[in-house]
Amino acid sequence: MSLEKLTFNYSQGDNALSVRFNGVWQIFTKIPPVSEATSQFLAYPDIKTIILDTTELSAWDSSLVVFLYKLIKQCQERNIEVRYNNPPEGMEKIIALTLTRTDIKVLPKVDVTDTFLEKVGEGFIGMGKGLFILLDFLGEIVQAFGRLIIGKAYFRKDEFMLLLQRCGVSALGLVSLISLLVGVILAFVGAMQLKLFGAQIYIADIVGIAMVRVMGAVMTGILMSGRTGASFAAELGIMQTNEEIDAFKTLGVDPVEFLVVPRILALVIMMPLLTLYANLMGILGGFAISVSMLNLNPVEYINHTQAAVKMSNLWVGLAHSVVFGIIIAISGCLRGIRCERSASGVGEATTSAVVTAITSIVIATAVITFICQVLGV
């Protein structure tokens, strides 16, 4: 039988408990919990002295120190005297050192046990603050655009060209793939229903109108939120963390004018173009599936598409895309510029930029659809 790590011996005469440590007390061996020793306090309530006997200890490290530290703390709370019997070299010193380290003050943590009502209230106040910040930012943007229009703003053409490229050409591959697939999906879903009436040629109408009126813009918007919106937030967030934005302010340069305005402009120019391209790709996807797998006549398909898609559909789609461009650029830039100066700040800014942009895009789509309904467009 292996030896117990801890053995206890209580002497009634002087109310002293001898705690004996046996064998190896190291991090990689199994160490008994402190409660094994402290439970003895309950067994002998009139205990006055505790003797830590380490004569049988063969090896030790921090695990023993932690054990003793906790035990001695408990003894101090109960006014029990602690004595060592033959402690190994250095152990007493380390323990004394650990025990004196209580003078380091830790700032009390703020109490976060809010009631449900408090949380709801705070949520609303937070929303109010968020709205205030947004309006403030929109005001700054309008002012900066005003200065741009009267030619008083500082505008770097080559950097703007670079932005146009990043918001446009570089996104083409992704937009192609997704729009093509959306066209394919619309064609398949439509075909299943229309087959019942033998009206499969109307797939052309469904794909054409759906893509041009909303889907092209919405898919492009969601892609660009994840792509460009996130990268705006990360860029400006890092600039904020590196004090680059402060450096603009000290120079009397408005960071909104210098950083935000060109980004909004670039996206507002590129989003409609990308949307047009996405529309085309979607129609192409629907066409390919209809002709190759659903055996529709290609010429008839094209004629149907041309007849179904009216100019008004196109304008509605483009209106969507301009609104989405503004939404994506503003949420990316706002989150970036207000990024917290911490390691997680840029990550949080990026995430919240994408979430804000996508949520706002869906809400905006609903609003625009409703307005079109009322106007009868």
Partner: protein, 252 residues
């Protein structure tokens, strides 16, 4: 040669806060023309916050900051912008604009506010860069520079508009001793050759004694300044144990 003592910045009853969190209370000090003024104190005590208020990036809770007798925070926005143009600031991280080259960084303030032509600006940029020992680096991007070079480039940019006063936030933080010494020497050179007024935030003892001829000590427990004067004088004469501990690294 004794310089005539003229107050340049006067700080009166300044309180600093972040929302409900008080950082510093009741700061009162004067920075004279041509002086190198040190703001010293432990990490997190509010040195950078004070600097932000001095350079006009953050409004104080209470109190005044006077530049040549003019109250900065009482001035209107346009006037504040004008006054800020007279400040050169070297930020803790250098804060070079990462999408521009070093040369473009230094040139931007000149393009914005001077009426110089393209070639004149280019010459001036080269001059400022050689002043900080970075001649020939104009076409590099900030990402291609070492930490010490980045700070020196930041200094060249801060000097672009020949500022009346230059602020440094922890110039030697994160630098090896040799680069740190080089930056200290630059600061001394600026004061002696250009007669610039300089405000340095730092907790580096070597810098404090090398460059400073006036200082305040911010204490994070009492949340106010607990000493002011020439750091060498403070070292010999201060009775505040915390100031002595700070200036001797607790080795006395």
């Amino acid at each position: 040669m004794d310089m005539p003592v003229k107050p340049f910045i006067e700080v009166r009853n300044l309180d600093l806060n972040y929302d409900d969190y008080m950082v510093m209370r009741n700061l009162n000090f004067t920075v004279n023309k041509g002086e190198t003024f040190i703001i010293m104190g432990g990490s997190g005590c509010g040195k950078s916050t004070l600097l932000k208020v001095l350079i006009g990036l953050k409004e104080p809770k209470n109190g005044q900051v006077l530049y040549n007798g003019e109250d900065f925070w009482a001035a209107d926005y346009r006037r504040q912008q004008e006054m800020m143009r007279g400040f050169g600031v070297l930020y803790q991280s250098g804060a070079l604009w990462s999408s521009l080259t070093v040369g473009e960084n230094v040139a931007l303030p000149l393009q914005l506010y001077s009426s110089l032509g393209v070639s004149q600006i280019r010459d001036l940029v080269e001059l400022k860069l050689s002043l900080v020992g970075l001649e020939g680096c104009a076409d590099l991007y900030p990402g291609e520079l070492s930490g010490g070079m980045r700070k020196r480039a930041g200094l060249a940019r801060a000097l672009a508009l020949d500022p009346d006063i230059i602020f440094f936030d922890e110039p030697s933080a994160g630098l090896d001793p040799i680069s740190a010494k080089m930056l200290d020497d630059l600061i001394i050179q600026l004061r002696e050759d250009l007669g610039s007024t300089i405000v340095v935030v730092t907790h580096e003892l070597a810098s404090i004694f090398a460059v400073g001829n006036n200082a305040i000590f911010l204490d994070d427990q009492s949340k106010t300044m607990t000493a002011s004067g020439d750091p060498k004088y403070l070292l010999d004469n201060s009775r505040d144990p915390k100031v002595i501990q700070f200036l001797t690294r607790g080795r006395r």
